[in-house]
């Protein structure tokens, strides 16, 4: 309740800043619209929450909870791999039934899922807060862009190169920062991310500066043709549907890899580091090597997604790799649930697809992200779909 009062006070305070214009005129129209939405929505949610706590909705919530429990039991009887199979089949079949627009959004969602899963290794599994993750995405994108422009190298050969350069960048960033923990690490990675962006922006000879690189090739594919005899044909996968399947493949690869990492020896060691670094070290976990590995692995997936992004847009510029993008990927991981693969997929879907649905509220997107991040941390810090294995750090308890 006190929180609600503080919230109201906060909005009241923000009001004058938003409504008065520097030329001395008072035109409250703009701020009325913005704050109308913000205050209205948050107020409604708060009131509903209060009413819920007093038990007014028991008549509705109890049957709903019962149905949900029954549904959960039903879901649990079907094996997990079947759900994944159904999901994959549905995603695979999507381009047959939908148009360009939906495919475009779906490609974006999948790029962000790859990024979110990469960041998940660093933040969710190893517990290192990384605010400069988008730098690896940028490194991957520029690696493919430059190799494609200067050496005309095909996408599939560049993919491992992009992953390698990104992993290298991850090691370069990881190495000096490994001695730090928590907040310091966050701000240093933020600094590194900005350094990478400034380099891309100012190194004219290599990256063509703010103008970006144009004319990056789409992925190509060789296939056997038996039309007239036997020959090896080559096509460019320029069509959106082809790109959709490329990123689908990349996403499936990422999901499998992250899942395998999560439940491997390395993944357990990462989680041990997340829960208590000192104890993990005493138990014989080589924290230095494993933290570096977490950075490198996270960066690898970021780099793969970046190479695809460059191939998809056929254009890269430093503007795509700002801090806000990092924050957005982080918001996905946090919203979905740190360390949980389905959670992150849900988070990416929510943060990319929802703004598309509410197209007229496009401008409010980042505002809502920020607000949602704070509110999530206060009311549901484990995310929408929490990971099964998650504890609290021992040094937070004292």
């Amino acid at each position: 309740m006190t929180w609600a009062i503080a919230m109201a006070w906060f909005y009241v305070l923000l009001w004058p800043l938003m409504g008065i214009h520097p030329d001395g005129t008072l035109t409250f129209k703009n701020s009325l619209i913005v704050w109308g939405w913000v205050v209205g929505l948050s107020g409604a949610v708060l009131i509903l929450r209060q009413l819920n706590e007093t038990g007014m909705f028991n008549a509705i919530t109890t049957p709903v909870a019962n149905v949900r429990a029954a549904a959960n039991r039903g879901i649990d009887t079907v094996p997990v791999w079947l759900w994944w199979g159904i999901g994959f089949a549905a995603t695979f079949a999507l381009p047959f039934f939908t148009g360009r627009y939906v495919q475009d959004v779906a490609i974006n969602v999948m790029i962000y899922i790859c990024l979110g899963l990469g960041l998940n290794i660093v933040v969710g599994l190893c517990g290192l807060l990384d605010l400069g993750f988008i730098a690896f995405y940028g490194v991957g994108a520029y690696t493919y862009g430059l190799l494609s422009i200067h050496y005309a190298m095909p996408f599939w050969i560049c993919l491992p190169f992009a992953a390698m350069t990104a992993a290298l960048a991850g090691c370069i960033i990881g190495y000096p920062t490994l001695r730090m923990r928590g907040d310091y690490l966050a701000i240093v990675t933020l600094g590194f991310g900005e350094i990478v962006r400034l380099l891309l922006n100012n190194w004219m000879q290599l990256t063509n500066g703010p103008n970006g690189i144009l004319g990056i090739k789409a992925p190509g594919l060789y296939y056997f043709s038996f039309a007239n005899g036997f020959s090896l044909e080559h096509i460019w996968l320029k069509k959106l549907t082809y790109m959709y399947y490329v990123i689908l493949g990349l996403m499936v690869l990422t999901i499998i890899a992250v899942h395998r990492l999560n439940f491997s020896r390395v993944g357990r060691a990462w989680e041990a580091i997340r829960e208590d670094e000192t104890a993990a070290e005493l138990m014989g976990v080589n924290t230095f090597k494993l933290k570096l590995l977490a950075y490198a692995m996270g960066a690898t997936f970021g780099g793969l997604a970046g190479a695809f992004f460059a191939a998809r847009m056929r254009f890269v510029s430093p503007e795509s790799f700002t801090f806000l993008e990092s924050a957005m990927v982080l918001a996905m991981v946090v919203l979905g649930g740190m360390g949980s693969i389905p959670g992150i997929m849900l988070g990416a879907l929510a943060l990319v697809a929802l703004p598309e649905v509410f197209r007229e509220f496009e401008l409010y997107r980042m505002l809502a992200f920020g607000g949602a991040m704070t509110v999530m941390m206060i009311f549901k810090p484990k995310g929408l779909w929490p990971a099964k294995r998650f504890g609290t750090r021992s040094d937070d308890n004292d």
């Binding site: 913005v34 730090m180 310091y184 701000i187 982080l330 704070t374």
Partner: protein
């Protein structure tokens, strides 16, 4: 040589501004061990509130008759406003998480920062807002070195604010309570210090200083932008770390060093990479000397 002195004065001006922002970071960190990501937004909000009040006064015609009075008045109002804003932000976003994990508080702060920045953008527009600066035009020159009245004003104001803060923290009762809370929360609570109130006060003080810095930067560059808080915020954080986080004198010295390095690097090396140096210093300090210049109370949970 003239060039060097000129750059030195510019560096001093910029460094003073960074020092003012850095103090907010360092005081908040000293008390609740939190990097207040939204601090840069208080700086931006200060710049906007300053331009709003000053323009309002200019349109009423008071600016021609009493320019300095207007400036002082708007500064006081802005500082008060930002102090209240910071207290509200603390109550909304940080207080419910007092006993949560560090990562959640940090993410909550980050969310607040994005929220405030985009709120500013949505309502005040994405374009630069010009400051009414005509009354401080002009300057004087000694030899080849010119110094505008604006720079003199910024330097004087910065020094006054820093002296005021030092008196507040080291000479008054509330300052003593602040330092006690920073040292040991349980003990200070036992001797009757209300730690929630002290934390609020700390946020208010830091945001007030940041707001003053926001006005000065607005006056100096002639305009404000909704995202002006981000990069100076990080540089000021670098300054706070350089001086030893949690240490007030350290933050002042760190701010001056960062400002000086930035201006010198822009003047002698390359102006494109001037933003990089603060980050390089930050990383270097954290790697080689994590306690900073003046800090001593850093245990392994902080670094």
């Amino acid at each position: 040589m003239e060039f060097f002195i000129q750059q030195f004065i510019n560096g001093l001006t910029l460094g003073g501004v960074y020092a003012l922002i850095a103090l907010g970071y360092t005081m908040v960190y000293g008390i609740i061990q939190l990097i207040n990501f939204a601090h840069g937004e208080f700086f931006a909000a200060g710049g906007y509130m300053g331009v709003i009040i000053l323009s309002f006064m200019a349109s009423m015609g008071y600016m021609e008759t009493h320019p300095w009075l207007c400036l002082m008045g708007s500064m006081a109002l802005t500082m008060g406003y930002c102090a209240m804003l910071a207290m509200a932000v603390e109550k909304v976003a940080y207080k419910p998480l007092r006993f949560a994990s560090r990562l959640s508080v940090l993410l909550s702060a980050l969310g607040m920062s994005i929220f405030l920045q985009n709120g500013l953008m949505l309502t005040q527009g994405v374009y630069d807002k010009p400051y009414p600066t005509s009354f401080t035009d002009g300057g004087f020159s000694i030899g080849m070195v010119t110094m505008s009245y604006m720079q003199v004003m910024i330097l004087v104001m910065t020094v006054l604010l820093l002296i005021g803060l030092n008196i507040l923290v080291f000479r008054t009762k509330i300052g003593t309570a602040m330092r006690a809370t920073a040292q040991d929360k349980v003990m200070s609570a036992l001797v009757g210090i209300n730690s929630n109130r002290i934390i609020s006060t700390t946020f208010a003080l830091g945001a007030g200083l940041a707001a003053a810095a926001g006005i000065m930067v607005g006056l100096y560059y002639g305009s404000v932008r909704y995202d002006m808080g981000f990069v100076p915020g990080i540089k000021a954080f670098a300054a706070a770390v350089l001086g030893g986080i949690g240490n007030i004198t350290g933050a002042m010295i760190g701010g001056l060093i960062i400002g000086m390095v930035e201006i010198m690097a822009a003047g002698y090396l390359s102006s494109e990479y001037k933003d990089v140096w603060a980050f390089v210093i930050l990383i270097g300090v954290l790697y080689f000397m994590p306690t900073g210049i003046m800090g001593e109370n850093v245990d392994d949970t902080r670094v």
